[in-house]
C-alpha cells in the first residue's frame, strides 16, 4: 500500500485562504532515529519493549501527528522527545543537539490536569518565563501577547477551575508557547474535550500554528484529527509499537473543515483505519 506522496494534487485540496510563504523550511528540528524504549522488568514479568525501533522527524515549521491505537507507545515517544524519559536505544536530537533532559526549548501539553490550579491564567502562562528569569515587564508583555493570540484576554485573572475544558487547553498551549520553544509537543491535547469543542480547538490550533510559525509534534488516537491538522502523519501500530506507515497529507497549510468531506481525506482515513485492523505484532 502506498499512501505517500500523492501523484496529482487532490481535487478538494484547494486552500481556502492563500498559501503563506513557506517557512525557512527544510531545516530539521526534531530527529528521532531508530528509537527503542524498553521498560525494566517488574516482579516476574519480563522487560516490556514498549516502542521501536522508530524513526520520526519534524522539520522547521511543520505540524506533524503521530496517530496510533492505545498502548502503542505514542506518549512514550513524546516523553522521550521532551526529555522526560530516556530512549533505551537510538538517537534523539533537536537542532542537531542530543536531547539529554527536559527543557523549555521543547514545550509540552498533556491531555489535562496540567495547569497550576492555584495560579491565574496569566500566572500560568508566565511560569516558564519566570523560571528562566525573564524580567517582569518583558513577562507581562509576552503574556499579553499570548492572551490575545489565544483569545483569553478576558480571562487573564481567572483560576483554571473557572474555565471550560477548551479554554484550559488553550492556556496550556499558551504556557508552552511562552518561552518560545523550538518545538511544541502535544500529547492528546484535545482528548478529553467534547466533539464540538474539539473541532473548534483543532481549527484554533491550525490558526495559531499559521500565525506563530511554530513547529509542532502532536500525538492523537483520532485519525481524522491527525489528517485534518498535520502535514505528515506517522501511523503507529503493534506491540511494541512501530511506525507502520508515513502519510504525507496533501491539503496545504490552511484548510477548513470542508477538507474533512473531500474524497481524498476519506480515502486516507479509511486506509489508516484499515491498518489498525491488522493483528498486533
Amino acid at each position: 500500500m502506498t499512501l505517500s506522496p500523492p501523484e496529482s494534487p487532490p481535487e478538494l485540496a484547494e486552500p481556502i485562504t492563500p498559501e503563506p510563504p513557506a517557512t525557512p523550511a527544510g531545516t530539521r528540528k526534531l530527529d528521532m532515529v531508530r528509537v527503542i524504549k524498553t521498560f525494566p522488568a517488574r516482579r516476574k514479568a519480563k522487560p516490556v519493549v514498549a516502542v521501536g525501533p522508530v524513526d520520526i522527524h519534524v522539520d522547521q515549521g511543520e505540524l506533524v501527528c503521530i496517530v496510533g491505537t492505545s498502548g502503542c507507545g505514542k506518549s512514550t515517544l513524546l516523553n522521550i522527545a521532551g526529555g522526560l524519559e530516556t530512549a533505551t536505544m537510538g538517537d534523539v536530537s533537536v537542532d542537531g543537539e542530543p536531547v539529554i533532559g527536559p527543557g523549555p526549548d521543547r514545550g509540552m501539553v498533556f491531555q489535562g490536569y496540567s495547569l497550576y490550579p492555584w495560579k491565574t491564567v496569566a500566572e500560568n502562562i508566565s511560569f516558564g518565563l519566570e523560571c528562566q528569569g525573564v524580567d517582569r515587564a518583558r513577562r507581562a508583555e509576552r503574556v499579553k501577547e499570548l492572551l490575545a493570540i489565544m483569545d483569553l484576554v478576558a480571562f487573564a485573572d481567572r483560576l483554571p477551575k473557572e474555565l471550560s475544558g477548551g479554554m484550559r487547553q488553550r492556556v496550556a498551549i499558551a504556557r508552552a508557547l511562552a518561552p518560545e520553544p523550538d518545538i511544541l509537543l502535544l500529547d492528546e491535547p484535545f482528548g478529553s474535550l467534547d466533539a464540538q469543542t474539539k473541532l473548534a480547538m483543532q481549527e484554533f490550533l491550525l490558526l495559531v500554528w499559521q500565525r506563530t510559525g511554530a513547529t509542532i509534534l502532536m500525538v492523537t488516537h483520532d485519525v481524522e484529527e491527525a489528517l485534518f491538522l498535520s502535514q505528515r502523519v506517522y501511523v503507529m501500530h503493534g506491540r511494541p509499537g512501530r511506525v507502520v506507515e508515513v502519510v504525507d497529507v496533501p491539503f496545504g497549510r490552511s484548510r477548513s473543515t470542508q477538507v474533512k468531506r473531500s474524497p481524498k481525506f476519506l480515502d486516507l482515513r479509511d486506509e489508516i483505519q484499515e491498518l489498525f485492523r491488522q493483528p498486533l505484532d
Partner: protein
Amino acid sequence: MAAEGRGRRQSPVLRIRSELPMRWRAGLAVGGLAFVFLLWVWESSRSSGAVIVPSPADTWKAVTAAWSSGQLGKDFGASMGRIGLGYTISMAIGLVVGLLMGSFTSIESAVEAPVAFLRYIPATALTPLLLLWLGIGESPKVTLIVLGTVFFNTLMVADVVRAVPQELIKVSYTLGAGRLAVLRKVILPHSLPGVIDVARINLAAGWLMLVVAELLAAQSGLAYRIVQAQRFHQVDIMFAMLIVFGVIGVASDLVLRWLRNAAAPWARP
C-alpha cells in the same frame, strides 16, 4: 392499577447525600447540641452519691470563678505554650521530612520503614522514659507532644505530596523549572491546603499527648488542674476544664479550616 408513576419517590430529607437547605442544616445542628445539653441537665438533676454531675450553671460558675481568679488564664497559657511549641516543632519536621519523602523515592525508601515502626510505639508509653531522661520540666512534655504527632504528620504530609499530579511536575520541567523550583513553586503550593488539613486532623493527638503529660507531672496547665480538682472532689472544676478543652478544640478546628480556605482559595470545594 394504582401506579402513581415510575420509580421510587425519594425523601427530600433522608435521601443519601441529600442537599439540605442551610436553614435546615443549622436547625438540625442546634437540635443536636440541645439534645446533648438536655442530657447533661437531666443527668445532673438526678445525680447523687459518688456520681456527681454538676449542673451547667454550676460549671459555668466554676469557669467564671477560675477566670476571675486568674487561675484559668495561667493554666490556659501554660497548656497553650506547651502545645504551641511542641506542635510547631512536630509540623515543621513533618513538613520537611514529608515533603522530601513524597518527592524523592530514595528518601522515602530510607525513611519509610523506621517511621512506620516508630509510629506503632504508643507515644504515651514513652512518658516514664521521658521523665527519667528529661526530668519534670517543660522539655519532657513538649517532647511527648512532638513524639506523639510527628510520625503521623510526616506520613500524612508525604501522602499529600504524593498526590501532586505527575503531569504537573513533568510539565514544570518542560517549562524550565529545576528540582528546587519544582519543590518550591509547584509541590509546596499544591500541597499547602492538604498540609493544613493534616495539621488540623492531628492536632487532636497533640492535645491527647499534652493531657497525658500534664496528668503525670506538671505544676500548671488545664489537665493538671483536673488532677488537682480530683484531690478536693471539685467536680465542677473538672467539668469546667473539660468544657474549656472542647471549646479550644472546636476553635482551633475552625481557625485551621478558615486558614486553609484563606491560604488556598483555589482548593475550596
